[in-house]
Symmetry: C2
C-alpha cells in the first residue's frame, strides 16, 4: 500500500472500513476500490503488491467479488494470468449490488415470513405477532416489487425520474385531468 498515491490510498482505505459495516470484509472492500479506480485490468499480484496482503487473500477476495458478480475476468494477449476489472458502467454496478443483496437478504427473509405466516396462531400474542409479521412482509414485498419494476427501465429514463424526485407526484395527481381532456370522459 506504500506506493499508492495518497488520493487513491484514502479512497481504498475508506472502502475497506465501509466494507466491514456491510458484512463484506476489509480486504474485499479494498480490492474493489482499487479495481474501481484502476485505468487498466489488474492481476492478483498487482493487487497484492498495491495493498500488501497475502497472495492467498487476494485470491479469496476476488472469488468473493466474483460470487457477487461485481468483477469481470479479462485476459491479455501472451499473458496467462487472470486480470480483473469492474464493469465500465457504474449503473451496472449499482444494479448488481441491489440485485445481489435482494437475493441474499430480502428473499430469505420473505420466505421465512411466509413460512411463519402459514402457521396457526395459538393465542392472542401469536396473533398479534403474525399481524406484525404480515405487515412487514407486505412492505418488503411492495418495495421489492417496485424495485423490480423500476430496474427494467433503461438507465436514461431512470435518471430522468430520479431527477424529477417528488415532483413526479404532481404528474400522478394530474392523471385524471389528462384523461378528461384527452378522452372526453372521466374515470
Amino acid at each position: 500500500m506504500t506506493n499508492l498515491p495518497p488520493m487513491i490510498q484514502t479512497f481504498v482505505l475508506h472502502f475497506g472500513e465501509m466494507g466491514s459495516r456491510w458484512g463484506i470484509n476489509r480486504t474485499v472492500g479494498q480490492i474493489y476500490a482499487l479495481l474501481y479506480v484502476s485505468p487498466k485490468p489488474l492481476n492478483a499480484d498487482d493487487i497484492r503488491e498495491a495493498l500488501g496482503f497475502a497472495r492467498s487473500n487476494v485470491s479469496m477476495g476476488l472469488k468473493e467479488l466474483d460470487s457477487w458478480q461485481l468483477i469481470r475476468l479479462k485476459h491479455l494477449p501472451n499473458d496467462r494470468r487472470d486480470y480483473f476489472t469492474v464493469p465500465e458502467d457504474i449503473w451496472e454496478i449499482v444494479r448488481t449490488l441491489v440485485e445481489q443483496r435482494r437475493k441474499r437478504e430480502i428473499e430469505p427473509t420473505l420466505t421465512m415470513l411466509r413460512d411463519v405466516l402459514m402457521e396457526k396462531p395459538s393465542g392472542e400474542d401469536e396473533k398479534f405477532a403474525q399481524n406484525k409479521m404480515n405487515e412487514m412482509h407486505d412492505i418488503i414485498e411492495m418495495l421489492t416489487n417496485w424495485y423490480t419494476d423500476m430496474q427494467k427501465m433503461e438507465t436514461e429514463r431512470l435518471v430522468n425520474l430520479l431527477k424529477l424526485g417528488a415532483k413526479v407526484y404532481k404528474l400522478y395527481e394530474m392523471k385524471d385531468k389528462i384523461f378528461v381532456v384527452k378522452g372526453g370522459k372521466e374515470k
Copy 2:
C-alpha cells in the same frame, strides 16, 4: 429463548442472523425482532428472560438501538423500570433506518469523495481515478437527493407511487402533451 413460541423464535433467530450481515450484531437483531412482535412494552429483564443472554448485553443492545433511534422508551405507572417498544408505524421504522444509514455511511463517503476530488491529480492515472470517483460521487448524490425529496412525502402518497412502479414513466412522457392541451403552447 426456551419458552418463546416457535413462530416467534424463528422470527427472532432470523433477524439475529440477518443482523450480523449488516454490521449490527446478533444480540441487537434479536432484541429488535422481539420488541417488534411484542404486543406490549418490554423491560430489560423481560428481554433477558426471553432471549437468554446476560443482562448487561441487553443493556448494551438497547443502547445501540436507541442510538439508531429505532426504539421508544416507555414508563408504566408504579414501575420505575424502563420499558421499550418499536414505533407503531412501520413506515417510521423504514424511514429511520434509511436516514440513519445515510448519516452513518453515505454522508461520510460523500465527504471523503469531495475531499479527494479537491486534490490536484499528478498524472494520468490519478486523473482517471478522480474521474471515476467523481462519477461515484454524482450517482450517490443523485440517489440521496432523490430519497430526501421522496421522504418528505406523506406515506399514503408514497405508497401510491410505489404501487404505480415503472408506469410512472408513462405519465412523465405525457407531460409535454398535457401542457400543449392545457396551455396552448409547447416547451
